[in-house]
């Protein structure tokens, strides 16, 4: 089954009406989002691409980009691996895929227009938005130039005008959003002479891709790249060789980018709510402990004083008693000695008396 580009063009009128409203991706959402129902996309049949670079030339023209160093007719540039730049939103690369060694394989790259874009979820001024019609678009009037979108994009698509000192912008494929809104095809799709690019509703493109794979199992790998990668992309790919042989990562997983950060974002309000309670509680406990410590100290001091006082009194009493006893003892002794002395004196006088009488 093959659908002509002209037929897809007819669908544009309906799409144009919905292409005007932008909406940002929600990071913290528990809904299962599988893309806007009427969303448009492009199916890239890698097996059909011949590396003519017509798409690059068309992209350059419709986006009014500067003239390249080498003309688009020159296919010698294909010998080098290229990435999109600020001056070329799409590039075609040539791969000598090992599983199909005879002929080289060509693959076009550009923004994949994720259903839930990483760039949109990480932009702190919400400069990126996913339009219900499909394109992920960028608003240069709010961009601060933090380049977090470039860190986040798993396909390494956004590029930055590092050499512009005053008004640098992020540059990337727009899926020709303005042209789509006017009922036109994206520049690259219109220019492709081999129908390696098919434009239409993403849902239909998926059906076409699977139908192609079903009809030609010998020609295609049984996988539609972009159906689920990073939660799904508006651009879809089918290939005759494993995707990692044409420079496409197969380890990205199926988790939409916003889900990667939603957990961390969910914790934030909880910390704002509970941390002050915890800290105030700690502060209260510390204060109370200090108060108790002060009171206990006071108690201990007064207790010690009391104890010292009573001990002193006891000692005093004991000392007094002892002194009394000593006094009495001394008095007694003195009395005894006195009596003894008197007795002795009396005795001696008694002795001397008879002696006197004797003489």
């Amino acid at each position: 089954m093959s659908i002509s580009r002209r037929k897809f063009l007819g669908w544009m009128g309906a799409a144009g009406a919905t292409a005007t409203v932008g909406k940002s991706a929600k990071a913290a959402s528990n809904k299962h989002f599988t893309g806007y129902p009427e969303g448009l996309g492009v199916l890239h049949d890698i097996t059909a691409c011949v590396g003519c670079r017509e798409c690059e030339a068309a992209c350059n023209k419709v986006n009014e980009l500067p003239e390249p160093d080498k003309p688009f007719k020159d296919t010698s540039v294909l010998d080098q691996k290229r990435s999109a730049t600020t001056k070329a939103y799409t590039v075609v690369n040539k791969y000598d895929a090992p599983s199909k060694a005879k002929a080289p394989v060509f693959r076009k790259m550009q923004c994949n227009h994720c259903l839930e874009p990483a760039c949109a979820s990480v932009c702190f001024v919400a400069a990126f938005s996913k339009q219900p019609a499909g394109p992920v678009v960028y608003d240069p009037t709010v961009c601060v130039g933090c380049r977090y979108c470039m860190i986040a994009c798993p396909f390494e698509i956004p590029t930055y005008e590092y050499d512009d000192p005053f008004t640098p912008e992020v540059k990337k494929c727009t899926m020709c959003a303005p042209r789509i809104a006017n009922g036109q095809l994206p520049g690259c799709v219109e220019a492709c002479p081999k129908e390696a690019l098919i434009f239409g509703k993403r849902d239909n493109l998926l059906k076409i891709a699977k139908e192609k794979i079903r009809k030609h199992p010998d020609r295609y790998i049984d996988h539609v790249y972009g159906e689920h990668e990073m939660g799904g992309t508006s651009w879809l790919y089918i290939s005759g060789v494993p995707f990692n042989e044409v420079g496409m990562r197969e380890d990205l997983g199926v988790t939409p980018a916003p889900s990667l950060t939603s957990g961390a974002l969910h914790v934030v309000p909880m910390i704002v709510g509970l941390w002050p309670v915890f800290l105030a509680g700690m502060y209260g406990m510390t204060k109370r402990r200090e108060k108790i410590a002060v009171e206990e100290k006071k108690k201990a001091v007064s207790h010690a004083l009391e104890k010292a006082n009573s001990e002193a009194e006891e000692k005093l009493a004991l000392a007094l008693e002892k002194a009394n006893q000593d006094k009495e003892k001394a008095l007694k002794q003195a009395q005894q000695e006195k009596e003894k002395a008197v007795k002795e004196a009396l005795a001696s006088t008694a002795e001397t008396k008879p002696a006197k009488e004797d003489s």
Partner: protein
């Protein structure tokens, strides 16, 4: 007359002043180039490496190493370690200057600094699904909080008693604000990388990365207070009063003990992270060995050294370990943001900072030190102002 000139020359051309002067001149030249010729002229940034050392070092490390502010103020005012009161001011000052430097670095790094200064993300259009939005908001508010916490220092210096007394009354509220904001943005700096599992090496990428960043910021805070106290002792000994000097040694001991404990916890959760993702097999790869250098050399080892230092009351060992740990935190932040980022790419496609990028980072650190030196020399930082003794 001529003698006076010579003596003036002598005081002006100290080794510190000469080196700092040269760095400042180089920094100003780079500044001129950055704002007239663009980022492309001065940096090695590319479309695949959009963040360089101005983010990886100036922002990531700057914020982590400024964690001493919230760590010490919460220890002193919330957790009741009042006896370390004298360490609060130097820590708050470092944090305030650190965050201010981070902000200035960002002005250099972003493409449209005027829009950053005009707070576009908060005023014009809010990207609330972005962790960077949260980081930006928290850092902005926290810088204000730090400024308010810092104001008693210049207010005492200027003799504005009334305002100073009002600011002192706000201490408790500001401290709690500071801890909440720090918890949020310290952790969110790590969470920034949650979006890029395909680019950051799985040993560093973890669903727990936010917790790692927060816990390691506590370690950074404790270690920085010890580390920077040691440096200050050499530079500002004459400015330190009896209270500061008396409290300093027990503080070093206690903070060393605390750092050992937190490092032990951090080590455990890092191991749990490897187990949770079942990444054991990656430990024997080259990146795995590098990961082990960080984990064993800069987490397990300082944990152990701090513990020995605390047990033996070996202040020298604790001070050395503090410096070692600070280096380890810097290494961790650089690993996450630069070294283990884009790990699958061949070296030719990897980011290596340009000389001018390094020059500007050195300029930033130097500017911070000059500001710290000026304030610590002239204002009541390491000593209590004579008018306010016994008032807190």
């Amino acid at each position: 007359m001529s003698e006076q000139l010579i003596s003036e020359n002598k005081t002006l051309f100290t080794p510190f002043n000469v080196i700092a002067g040269i760095i400042v001149i180089i920094g100003l030249v780079i500044t001129f180039l950055r704002f007239t010729k663009g980022l492309g002229t001065v940096t090695n940034l590319s479309d695949t490496s959009p963040w360089g050392i101005w983010i990886g070092f100036d922002l990531m490390c700057g914020v982590a190493l400024a964690a001493g502010g919230y760590t010490v103020s919460s220890a002193c005012y919330v957790f009741g370690m009042k006896k370390y009161h004298a360490a609060v001011r130097p820590a708050i000052l470092t944090a305030f200057l650190g965050y201010a430097t981070v902000l200035v670095s960002l002005v250099y790094d972003v493409g449209r600094p005027v829009r950053l200064a005009m707070a576009y993300p908060f005023v014009v259009q809010q990207g609330t699904t972005s962790l960077l939005f949260e980081v930006g908001l928290c850092v902005m508010i926290y810088l204000s909080v730090l400024f308010l916490e810092f104001t008693p220092i210049p207010l005492e210096w200027l003799g504005l008693k009334k305002i100073r007394n009002i600011m002192i009354k706000l201490t408790m509220v500001l401290t709690i604000f500071g801890v909440v904001l720090s918890t949020l943005h310290q952790s969110s700096l790590g969470a920034l990388f949650l979006i890029a599992p395909s680019k950051l090496h799985p040993l560093w990428y973890s669903p727990y990365i936010a917790v790692y960043f927060f816990v390691s910021s506590i370690i950074a805070g404790l270690s920085m207070v010890i580390f920077e106290g040691t440096l200050s002792h050499k530079a500002f000994h004459g400015k330190m009063d009896k209270t500061y000097l008396e409290e300093h040694d027990p503080l070093v001991l206690q903070f060393g003990k605390a750092a050992s404990l937190v490092l032990a916890g951090y080590f455990s959760i890092k191991i749990i992270g490897i187990a949770a993702d079942n990444n054991w097999h990656l430990l024997v790869t080259p990146y795995g060995l590098w990961f082990l250098v960080e984990l064993l050399g800069f987490v397990a080892l300082p944990c152990f050294l701090y513990a020995i230092g605390a047990r033996d009351k070996n202040l020298k060992l604790i001070r050395f370990t503090a410096g070692w740990t600070v280096f380890g935190i810097v290494l961790n932040r650089l690993n996450v943001s630069l070294i283990a980022f884009n790990w699958q790419k061949p070296l030719s496609e990897r980011y290596i900072p340009s000389l001018m990028e390094i020059g500007l980072s050195v300029f930033m650190v130097t500017a911070l030190i000059i500001a710290f030196k000026f304030i610590a020399t002239n204002m009541p930082v390491f000593h209590e102002h004579p008018d306010y003794k016994e008032t807190h």
